[in-house]
Symmetry: C2
Subunit: 345 residues, 2 copies
């Protein structure tokens, strides 16, 4: 028998009697502490509950899994983890293996950092986009940057978990994560993140010393947030009840803003660049085709498709907008090339 | 003082001693049962814990909020809800109002259906896209359909919550929700959902009679899933450990497939349609410009940009692919219009 038990975000005091008894009566209890740090006090408290053997499980032990599986074949075995047990994919894989080995598994779900966090900072759950993790490695920043970009294009909030390395007792600090985001912006340059971006730093959610700070990155980056764990949220478009909540229930350094307002999709950026350029190229070539009947329709069509591009963009039909401006540019450039002008693509 | 207490997904037996005492000692306890059904037994059990007054809170009472706020000004007041308290936006708004009124608020987070669900069905948490709700109203289906489409384009999983109406004791059945999805596909016709789409129906997650069934919609729609609540997941691209988990820990009617494989963005659909069309149009017009030196570069460029469109698409640069094929089409059509041929846009 293998139990997966979530400790939740508030620790042992929030365990039910039933769950305590499962831990107490198990013959083998593993506590994994590599997905999130667990304090010495909590470790000792948990150990003191156990009648059976108690052991800290390092990452390799859970990833390898053989010892846990072997124990679970013979004994009531428990694997305890911070938050909800299945936020970590290692635990899911262990469950699949156990089931394959005909070991019965049961789960005690608990509060998870991701779902608790969103409510604690005052945001709506259904407006959260893809969750991401930032590691302390500038080379790994393209994926997080792209995810925030996609989330902002969808107007959704980005929940950012920060690297935790148990062996090195390392927890990425929010200021460093925000700096990494500002740095990747410099190379990617898609205007996703700036000093003016509004963000929320949630510290020690679920603990008595929980602290939530919100504001522009330029101000957040100067703050001290105290002991880990921390998470960050880059907000998307805010409902007014979300703005109100942020102002009231967080330490709010700056007025919340809509971070998604200025984020432009590649299509929008193309239309902004090409529409004036193609219009100008069209007017430049027009006099060279005056009174040439067979070219009149080309000039008319070019003008119509430039207008279409702008209108499609307004209607949110980005792909049609890009197709139209590309087409208009092609019509104009054919006329230009034929007269020895440089094409404008 | 206003407490927001989450009952979690497994009910009263999973409440900690500490939380029970808060409920026991409160002067006023509200139990809201409009976000998810709570059984009579559970209501009675909760009531039996309370020393103070116990009251069922209908939606209007929480949305209006005045009674709760007034009580919380004078008394230890508790609002209990299923799952995690802040998944419901009404509760968040109440918290903001209470804080504005200088009422201290505290929260007991708990397991929420969304985070528990994902692990229980064997999926990775960080691969979940935007969460959506399906209501029993065909006219409201465009947004859910678009969200699933966007999630599949991002290869992510779509967690679908189903309408619950406390006053009518109505819980949308999974079969009906799946039928609504098949119906909206008929009108939208973007090949997002079909009888062959792989889905997971999660029933009564966290309860002893929890049941998870997975398979193609054509087979799921014939099943009976028993008592509510149910949720549905339309899976995106599956990691092999996710497929393995689904096969092992759910009642798996069919081999899991990648639902995202055949979902095409509008850009991809455009490239598929326009590339062969523009190639053909180019070959048709080419003989009419043989030996006309000033047009040679137009023909060469048209060919290059058609190839570019295909290559950009392969590299995932969809916008550039569309811009290129639009441009190539414009070059070719200018040549066609000038010779009295029909344009191909």
């Amino acid at each position: 028998m293998l139990w997966f038990i979530g400790l939740g975000i508030s620790g042992i005091s929030e365990l039910s009697e039933r769950t305590r008894n499962i831990i107490k009566n198990a013959e083998m209890v593993y506590l994994e502490s590599f997905t999130s740090p667990i304090s010495e006090t909590e470790k000792e408290e948990l150990e003191s509950i156990c009648n059976g053997e108690f052991k800290i499980a390092k990452r390799w032990l859970v990833e390898d899994g053989n010892e846990i599986i072997d124990n679970a074949k013979e004994q009531e075995t428990v694997l305890i983890s911070y938050g909800d047990p299945y936020i970590a994919t290692t635990h899911l894989e262990l469950k699949t293996r156990a089931t394959n080995d005909k070991i019965e598994t049961k789960t005690i779900h608990s509060s998870s950092i991701v779902s608790s966090l969103i409510g604690e900072v005052g945001l709506h759950y259904y407006k959260v986009g893809k969750v991401l993790t930032i590691m302390n490695d500038p080379k790994s920043m393209i994926t997080p940057y792209n995810t925030i970009f996609d989330n902002l294009l969808n107007k959704t909030h980005s929940v950012i978990l920060l690297e935790y390395n148990e062996d090195k007792s390392f927890f990425l600090q929010p200021q460093d994560a925000l700096s990494l985001l500002l740095d990747v912006e410099k190379t990617q340059n898609r205007k996703v993140i700036s000093q003016e971006t509004f963000a929320i730093v949630a510290s020690r959610i679920g603990r008595d010393d929980q602290k939530i700070t919100s504001g522009r990155i330029t101000n957040l980056i100067k703050k001290e947030f105290g002991e880990s764990p921390h998470s960050i949220i880059i907000t998307g478009k805010l409902h007014f009840t979300e703005s109100d909540a942020i102002k009231v229930i967080t330490e709010c350094l700056d007025e919340p803003i809509d971070n998604s307002a200025d984020v432009k999709s590649i299509s929008e950026q193309m239309i902004e660049k090409y529409v004036p350029m193609v219009r100008e190229a069209l007017e430049e070539i027009r006099p060279h085709y005056e009174d040439l009947k067979e070219y009149e329709n080309i000039l008319i069509n070019a003008k119509l498709y430039i207008d279409d591009a702008e209108n499609f963009l307004k209607e949110g039909k980005k792909e049609y907008a890009v197709l139209s401006i590309g087409y208009a540019d092609g019509l104009v450039d054919a006329l230009r090339i034929a007269k020895g002008f440089d094409p404008k693509m």
